[in-house]
Amino acid sequence: QSFGRTPSASEIAGWDIDVRPDGAGLPAGGGTVAQGRAVYDENCAACHGPEGRDGIRDRLAGGQGTLASGQPIKTVGSYWPYATTLFDYIRRAMPYQAPASLSADETYAVSAYILYLNGILPAEGGLDRASLPRVRMPNRDGFLPEREFTAGWTAAR
């Protein structure tokens, strides 16, 4: 019994939006912190606040050094282990009301801006397919994968 059909490569490409820590899945293109500030102010600030703080939705900046405190503040800067996750998440889910509406360049740029807001990139910095996976996130080593479910993978690292 046969089910379904084989998709074309271009069909798959249209849906294959995930980005891995090693950069697999990142599109061509790039953007700067400065470009990202404009994208952010236009598309994101209304929910996430002027500088990634004090918005009506999730805080995106700050919180470094709070994770072991009684009031941990988990943000992209303080908590996220991989910068690739930021690109992946924005591309699939943000802006909330219009997911997947940003171009690749805009996504690189706004990702760069959020990293800048967290002190991870300098004001004159930027991101592209090559540099993004190389960004070292402050909390990169903050995670303890559970043996039961990750034994093979952690051994391979």
């Binding site: 294959d16 009684g70 282990p81 997911p99 903050g142 559970e146 479910f149 093979g152």
Partner: protein
């Protein structure tokens, strides 16, 4: 809305104790309403979930809600009514047309495949009664115990249904097997395209289901219509709703939901990651938060479940955990499904605490709060499974407490 409920009013009914004092006062019999296409609930039964935005933020404007919790204070038995299964969505509830929905299966597999819902419903199916639990269930009680919480608030993010769908294994065989893959990305068709990396353990390969039905009918939109992943015993977020893509790989993809969310911060600031199993758990649903008991006989009733398998024992303490008695299971326990327990108790009228603890077939015993917190700290936010204590005051008021 919260109501004071007598301990015995466990079935969602508001009965005034007066009612009819003699049989002569029972309303006369008379012909009733015509038969119908669907059986609606009685107008005397009010059942609804409580939407909430975050721990302690409820009731809430529905557009801000991220969870909607099952009213365990008013349910009986072990299966959850279909429309009351808890709900957790990250970008609302999409309105998908099954004729246009597609599942793409690709990545580290011999071949790629696009499946329609007709394809999927024509495949062999399996049915299984099992719980699904939000990783955040219990998140109200990490640091403090709001005494106004009901069991719906504390434990309303778990439910049990009969799930029907295609074995994951069957779909994997369809793409020619995935011998070199160790992980699978599952992705939803919702606005957030929620995506999780799923380790291809033997258990997941054996038990994973691409589910299209719950309790005998097509999934409802809130629960993933027309298709969702269902991974019995593992954290609810893995069971991707509105499933539209499965991609095989040899490492985790590190999506936001397995890094920024659904990772558990320890006291030292590091976080447990891929802590995917829902631990052995139980809660007394009656008498429970905001109910009132009267001195005399009290029926204790609750639910127990474990992601490790079957519940083999539930014990209840009516002296705040000092001594324990075995409770009775009201139905055969199924693996990775909620089962109801009951115990008779006579409340003498003195303040006390009532607590349950479950044991599963792997001999995991639900820890008391002190032991649990000693192990996890209070920052984990997810995977709370400590024993739940309900304090009873001298007046019979039942209140949420840490222990």
């Amino acid at each position: 809305r919260r109501r004071l409920l007598a301990a015995s009013a466990t079935a969602g009914l508001t009965t005034s104790p007066a009612g009819a004092d003699t049989l002569a006062n029972v309303p006369a019999r008379e012909p009733g309403a015509p038969l119908s296409a669907r059986s609606e609930r009685s107008r005397f039964v009010e059942l609804g979930r409580v939407p909430e935005a975050a721990p302690g933020i409820r009731p809430v404007d529905p557009v801000d809600a991220i969870n909607s919790k099952t009213p365990f204070d008013r349910l009986v038995g072990s299966i959850t009514p279909t429309d009351l299964h808890y709900e957790r969505s990250h970008a609302g509830v999409p309105d998908l047309d099954p004729a246009k929905h597609r599942l793409l299966v690709h990545g580290l597999a011999a071949r790629s495949l696009v499946l329609t819902m007709d394809d999927i419903r024509a495949m062999p199916s399996v049915s299984r009664v099992a719980f699904l639990e939000c990783t955040g269930n219990g998140w109200e009680n990490w640091k403090a115990a709001d005494p106004t919480l009901t069991v719906q608030n504390t434990h309303g993010l778990v439910s049990t249904h009969e799930w029907t769908g295609v074995p994951l294994r069957f779909v994997i065989d369809l793409v020619g097997g995935v011998p070199s893959a160790t992980w699978m990305l599952a992705e939803g068709a919702d606005g957030a395209a929620v995506a999780r990396s799923i380790p291809l353990t033997e258990e997941i390969m054996a038990e994973g289901i691409l589910a299209y039905a719950q309790n005998g009918e097509p999934l409802r939109p809130a629960h993933g219509f027309p298709l969702r992943l269902f991974l019995p015993g593992l954290e609810g977020n893995l069971s991707i709703k509105w499933l539209r893509r499965l991609k095989f790989g040899d490492q985790p993809f590190m999506t936001r939901w397995e890094t920024a969310r659904y990772t558990q911060l320890q006291a030292d600031g590091r976080a447990r990651q891929f802590q995917l199993r829902q631990e052995v758990n139980s809660v007394i649903t009656a008498p429970s938060g905001m109910m009132r008991v009267r001195p005399g006989p009290v029926r204790i009733s609750g639910l127990a479940w474990s992601g490790h398998g079957r519940i083999v024992q539930v014990e209840v303490s009516t002296d705040g955990g000092a001594s324990w008695q075995a409770a009775r299971l009201t139905a055969p326990a199924l693996p990775k499904a909620q089962v109801r327990f009951e115990m008779d108790w006579v409340w003498a009228g003195a303040p006390t605490g009532i607590v349950s603890r479950a044991t599963d077939e792997m001999r995991n015993v639900q820890p008391d709060r002190a032991a649990f917190i000693a192990r996890t700290g209070t920052n984990a936010l997810f995977h709370y499974s400590a024993q739940q204590t309900w304090r009873i005051s001298a007046e019979g008021d039942v209140r949420n407490a840490l222990s």
